[in-house]
């Protein structure tokens, strides 16, 4: 047995590989997320069967004389694309928090944290768990979004901005889920605590996401608007990761 120096990113990759292997074997997170997502999509499809194509009109914008063409030109969908995007992320948030709760809570409950703490640094644990959560949310988002678009009629808008919003959302959500999961696990967490701890972060996250969605679906967004709203969404995720990386040591070693 040869012993060498191991870098934190190698430890993080080893943890990610272990988590993926365990997940492929047990499918705990995937099945929890899958069941929730499937049920939510089914309910959504039933609830919005008539809503997605229903037009609405703000009577205040009508001008004399009222003509048929004038009314038709002012019609807009009752369920706007930005709201659809917001609802998609509410769904993804709940799905993610349902499945990701186990990443740290499971380690704590099954007593494997002592072996991990003896073998790897806190920063490597954080990086490994964050990567796993990011991958899981990305896979769920990839699977759910096309189905959701089919059910609700949510448009893509500008493809580049759309991908940026989805990526920024995935980064932010995985960052929030990871640190909240760690806090809940250390507090001998229950899923109720997990939700309570996650709420303040999720509210800010969803507000930023809806701002980005409004920009995505506005007719002619300026570069400044895109930079502010989509960039803001990314900044939230990056800031959360930076803060989490700084405080994770204290959470993990507590």
């Amino acid at each position: 047995m040869n012993k060498g120096v191991v870098a934190w990113h190698q430890q993080a990759l080893a943890l990610l590989a272990k988590d993926l292997r365990a997940e492929l074997r047990t499918k705990v997170a995937v099945s929890a997320v899958g069941v929730f997502t499937f049920s939510a999509l089914l309910l959504l499809a039933l609830a919005t069967i008539n809503l997605k194509d229903t037009p609405t009109l703000n009577m205040g914008v009508l001008t004399d004389p009222i003509t048929r063409d004038g009314v038709v030109s002012l019609l807009r969908p009752a369920w706007e694309p930005a709201s659809k995007m917001g609802l998609l992320w509410v769904l993804l948030c709940f799905a993610a928090f349902t499945g990701l709760a186990h990443t740290f809570v499971h380690e704590e409950d099954s007593g494997t944290t002592a072996a991990l703490r003896l073998s790897m640094t806190a920063s490597a644990v954080y990086a490994g768990k964050l990567s796993f959560n990011f991958l899981l949310i990305a896979v769920v988002a990839l699977a759910v979004t096309p189905a959701y678009m089919g059910i609700t009629g949510m448009p893509i808008g500008s493809p580049l901005v759309f991908i940026s919003v989805m990526l920024g959302g995935t980064v932010g959500l995985s960052a929030a889920a990871t640190i909240v999961g760690a806090l809940a696990a250390k507090a001998q967490g229950t899923s109720a605590l997990y939700s309570a701890l996650g709420l303040p972060m999720l509210v800010v996250f969803l507000i930023m996401l809806i701002n980005a969605a409004i920009t995505l679906y506005s007719k002619n967004p300026t570069v400044l608007q895109i930079g502010r709203d989509v960039g803001g969404l990314f900044s939230f995720g990056v800031m959360l990761i930076a803060i989490s990386a700084l405080v994770f040591h204290f959470v993990w070693e507590d």
Binding site: M1, V5, V6, A22, T112, A114, A115, L116, R117, L118
Partner: protein
């Protein structure tokens, strides 16, 4: 496989005590142990034997006192000494959803240890699990899991072994394996600290520290 450790190892426990909330677990304790020695810690249930071992392992910070760990003549802090410690305890669990071999390979990778197939077989043979390496840990009996903890502890051939209730769940062959491990650790100049109340295990110690309630 058993290399003699270079330099001097020493653990100095100075007036260590710990409180959980308002409750002090044990009265301040001082003890020291050097390479080639075994320290046995005894005390009634709830006296804080496991807590003290967690403190020595660097998994818990004592509310009072200090633990100074020197490995090969070099002082180690709580984080750096973890790599030099083999830890076997009831609160330590390996991944049930992985096989024994996968567990050992995973922890070897984390510690930067190149674990060849022969190394793995030798390790599993040493703890009496040869031929069961591919089985999921979730299918193991409690005695087999205890043996696997020893394989985990011996992965890096650590200069310090911390054994909490070392023969829990083990059959007579398992107990003999543990005695052999402790004897080999002593022979190659390593330190063993054993938390137990078993009369047979108390005899392993060059010295015995008894934890008293405050």
């Amino acid at each position: 496989m058993a290399d003699k450790h270079d330099g001097e190892h020493r653990i100095e426990i100075k007036e260590v005590a710990h409180q959980f909330g308002w409750r002090q677990v044990f009265a301040p304790l001082s003890a020291s142990v050097s390479g080639g020695q075994t320290l046995v810690i005894s005390g009634i249930n709830g006296a804080g034997k496991s807590t003290l071992l967690r403190i020595i392992a660097g998994l818990l910070t004592p509310t009072e006192g200090t633990v100074a760990v020197t490995i090969a003549g070099q002082q180690q802090d709580a984080l750096s000494r973890r790599n030099s410690i083999g830890y076997v305890a009831p609160d330590l669990t390996l991944y049930r959803e992985l096989s024994a071999a996968e567990n050992l390979q995973f922890f070897a990778r984390l510690r930067g240890i190149t674990l060849t197939r022969d190394d793995l077989i030798a390790l599993l043979t040493q703890v009496g699990l040869r031929g069961r390496g591919k089985d999921l840990v979730g299918t193991y009996s409690s005695g087999m899991r205890q043996r696997l903890k020893y394989a985990f502890a011996l992965l890096s051939q650590p200069p310090i072994l911390l054994l909490d209730e070392p023969t829990a769940n083990l059959d007579i062959h398992g107990v003999a394996i543990v005695e052999q491990i402790v004897a080999e650790q002593k022979q190659r100049g390593g330190i063993s600290i054993v938390a137990t109340n078993e009369p047979r295990e108390l005899e392993w110690g060059d010295s015995v520290a008894r934890l008293e309630l405050p």
